[in-house]
Amino acid sequence: MTDRAIEARALTKRYGDTTAIERIDLAVPSGSVYGFLGPNGAGKTTTMRMLTTLVEPTSGTATVAGVEVTDRASVVPNIGYLPEEPPLHAELTAREQLRYIAGLRDIPDPRAEQRITDLLERFSLGDDADRRISTYSKGMKQKTGIIQAMLHDPDVLFLDEPTSGLDPRAARTVRDTIADLTAGDATVFLSTHILPVVDDLADTVGVLYDGSLVTEGPPDALKQRAEAGDERTLEDVFLTVTGGIDGAA
């Protein structure tokens, strides 16, 4: 894997006359957590979909795990992706779903079984793993989706609102898991509205507003930049930079 897990240059996405993403540059080092913030409709999901190869950029370039995103078949084995709605088959049980994905990821059976069991236990899903996903609560589906995304130890993990619908204990498990992953050299690209999660975990925060990256940097630096000499929170930074381009630090 290269030093840069994610690299984007002038990445742009247009739908007809509408510009969803305007020339954003990203450079996310391996083994780090990148907190991706922005108001609803700012273009966060579109950016993630371009980086996960689901959407073709209109212009610009991007590499993930050192592979051009235009080379989809080569990018896919290196990434895990949890979209806002976990991609699960409601008719399967969690264990069946995870075994299925492990098979598609070509994880050898004994290793897959061990990993599935460990992760199910870690997320307190072991007792419910043989129930159909259709009977799950939103939080249980979210946990299954997270396990599915990280099942193959991807180099780069894209998480879109991973703590959505989770109770505080499960949210804490997700945070701890992300911290563990990055300790093991994985990179996490994290989109969320839960600012304390980003504040706790992110090495770098980028704020997207109206399709443009309006500010980027370590959380502490951003907080200081928001108003020098005053104690500020990441929420203050977010509100300042997304109040309009003029408000960008």
């Binding site: 689901l54 078949a73 896919v76 992706y81 598609l104």
Partner: protein, 535 residues
């Protein structure tokens, strides 16, 4: 090899798709199971018949004396291509949780899985009987080796046709997804296509369209599958060269079909689709209806119209009984004039359809909004009045026009036409009230899949059936009595004039339908007022 699916991944995806499909089927209602079971029984029952026909005609095919020899492969090929393309557009060409798959395995593997699962679904219903029929062929010609060559021909033909139909369906789906016009008017276009299909059936023109295609297939190498099937039968008019060529051609076409499927699927999934510009509209405004119905009932009516306009597919079930009208309509077309039975039949259908439009699932149709509606303070009678008004204001003008225009053009007497016109005025509102009462007793809250990506809540089968029976047995008296034959028979039995039978039939029919409507209306009001989420 680029573009070629990984067979291990494809097989796993296909197996899981089939397993999911089976579990979905098991989760359906008893009536759905019954319908599927009926289809399976029908196919199973037909198989011996098909086998016998093949057995009886086998020798004439072998002797080259039968046109069936070329017609059968051409027919199977064309039907398989058309059916596959159609189902690919609607169902088998896409996959649930597509984003999850496309970030897990290459798209080509997903396509491979869809192809395999789709083949089982498309061919599952007609390939097994054809394979069994191979026994009839082998028996008919007295050559056991035909048990080998005939199934190979069946599988080669259906697989090749399937792999031609799949990319064609994908191209159509892709083209549809690239058109903002289609995106905006897909409801109207779908309805138009359905009406065009009905018109073909009603006018017996389907063969006019399909005939040349099948004839072209007969004149093409598709007919050579007969050579392949009969190549093991000594004395048969079968060419080894043609048999070999069609087998090799099948392999080549199938390979190209897989590659084309992968290519077009990738374009369909990754290219930006066209979307009609999102128009900001505010069609829901108060108006004169408020003064007539009162504001709550008027808003219930407006809400029904708005939802129907934006999602017309949910009303598709209203068109299904049109097939029952085929006989009277075809008779009129064949006769070149409006027959005596047509005005009453269509007026009755128009009234029935009016009732079924908005009132047949008054609770379930509210969907997730039902708890809000139920706790909003609106009274049950206002909801029912709104639904009946929504239906009657749309359907009554249609039923009046059908009754009067067709009645005048038909050989019906002026009394019968007048009675039909009165029925056209009164019956739609009564129908809607009956529908509301029946629908409240048999609500359906679960959504039904209309296409892979579209689920809508439609009335329950029980509502549909009970409403239809009650309405036909009551309102049917009013319209049925306008038939000259009925009027004549009853008139002579009762010793009254035909005109008296027409008027009396109308009065009795309206009285019975009215009584049903009173009972049903009260039931609907009570059901809404007493609604609780736990049933």
């Amino acid at each position: 090899m680029p573009g070629v699916p990984n067979t291990h991944h494809a097989a796993r995806i296909a197996a899981t798709q089939l397993r999911i499909g089976w579990r979905k089927l098991r989760g359906k209602s008893v009536t759905h199971h019954f319908a599927v079971g009926l289809a399976v029984v029908a196919v199973t029952a037909m198989t011996p018949g098909i086998t016998w026909v093949v057995y009886a005609n086998a020798q004439s095919v072998v002797d080259g004396a039968s046109a069936i020899g070329t017609l059968v492969p051409a027919g199977i090929g064309v039907v398989t291509v058309v059916m596959t393309a159609y189902l690919t557009v609607l169902q088998i060409g896409d996959i649930d949780v597509r984003d999850g798959y496309l970030t897990t395995v290459p798209a080509r593997d997903v396509v491979g899985g869809l192809l395999a699962a789709g083949y089982v679904r498309v061919a599952g219903m007609f390939v097994p009987p054809l394979l069994v029929a191979s026994v009839g062929l082998a028996g008919g010609v007295g050559r056991p080796l035909a048990l080998l060559s005939a199934p190979i021909a069946v599988l080669a033909l259906t697989t090749t046709a399937y792999l031609v139909g799949f990319p064609i369906g994908m191209v159509i789906a892709y083209a549809l997804g690239q058109s903002a016009f289609v995106d905006r008017y897909k409801g109207a276009l779908g309805a138009g296509a359905f009406v065009a299909y009905l018109a073909l059936l009603l006018t017996d023109s389907l063969w006019t369209v399909a005939g040349p295609v099948i004839e072209a297939a007969r004149a093409s190498p598709v007919a050579w599958y007969t050579d392949l099937a009969l190549i093991t039968v000594p004395g048969a008019d079968a060419s080894a060269l043609r048999a070999g060529a069609v087998l090799a051609g099948s392999v080549g076409v199938a390979a190209l079909g897989v590659l084309a499927s992968v290519r077009v699927s990738e374009r369909r999934w990754y290219d930006d689709g066209a979307h009609a510009d999102i128009r900001t509209t505010d069609s829901a405004r108060g108006g004169r209806l408020d003064g007539v119905l009162g504001r709550p009932a008027a808003w219930v009516a407006r809400k029904s119209w708005l939802r129907a306009r934006r999602a017309p597919i949910k009303l598709l079930y209203v068109i299904y009984p049109v097939f029952v009208l085929f006989g009277p309509i075809q008779n009129s077309i064949a006769a070149g004039r409006v027959t005596a039975t047509l005005p009453a039949t269509l007026t009755l259908y128009a009234a029935w359809a009016t009732g079924a439009l908005f009132a047949l699932n008054p609770l379930g149709d509210e969907g997730a909004v039902l708890p809000v509606t139920a706790t909003s303070g609106v009274a049950g009678r206002e909801v029912v009045a709104g639904l009946v008004a929504a239906s009657a204001l749309v359907g009554t003008p249609v039923s009046i026009v059908l009754a009067v225009v067709l009645g005048v053009l038909s050989p019906l007497s002026s009394v019968a036409v007048a009675c039909l016109a009165v029925g056209g005025v009164v019956l739609p509102a009564l129908a809607a009230t009956v529908a509301a009462g029946v629908g409240a007793s048999f609500p359906k809250y679960e959504a039904t899949s209309m296409t892979r990506s579209r689920e809508v809540v439609v009335p329950s089968l029980w509502s549909f059936g009970v409403y239809t029976i009650v309405f036909l047995l009551s309102a049917g008296i009013a319209t049925g009595a306008q038939s000259p034959a009925v009027g004549s028979v009853l008139g002579s039995v009762l010793g009254v004039s035909t005109a008296v039978v027409h008027v009396a039939g109308l009065a009795v029919g309206l009285a019975v339908a009215g009584a049903c409507a009173v009972v049903a209306g009260r039931n609907a009001v009570r059901a809404f007022d007493g609604y609780t989420a736990d049933g």
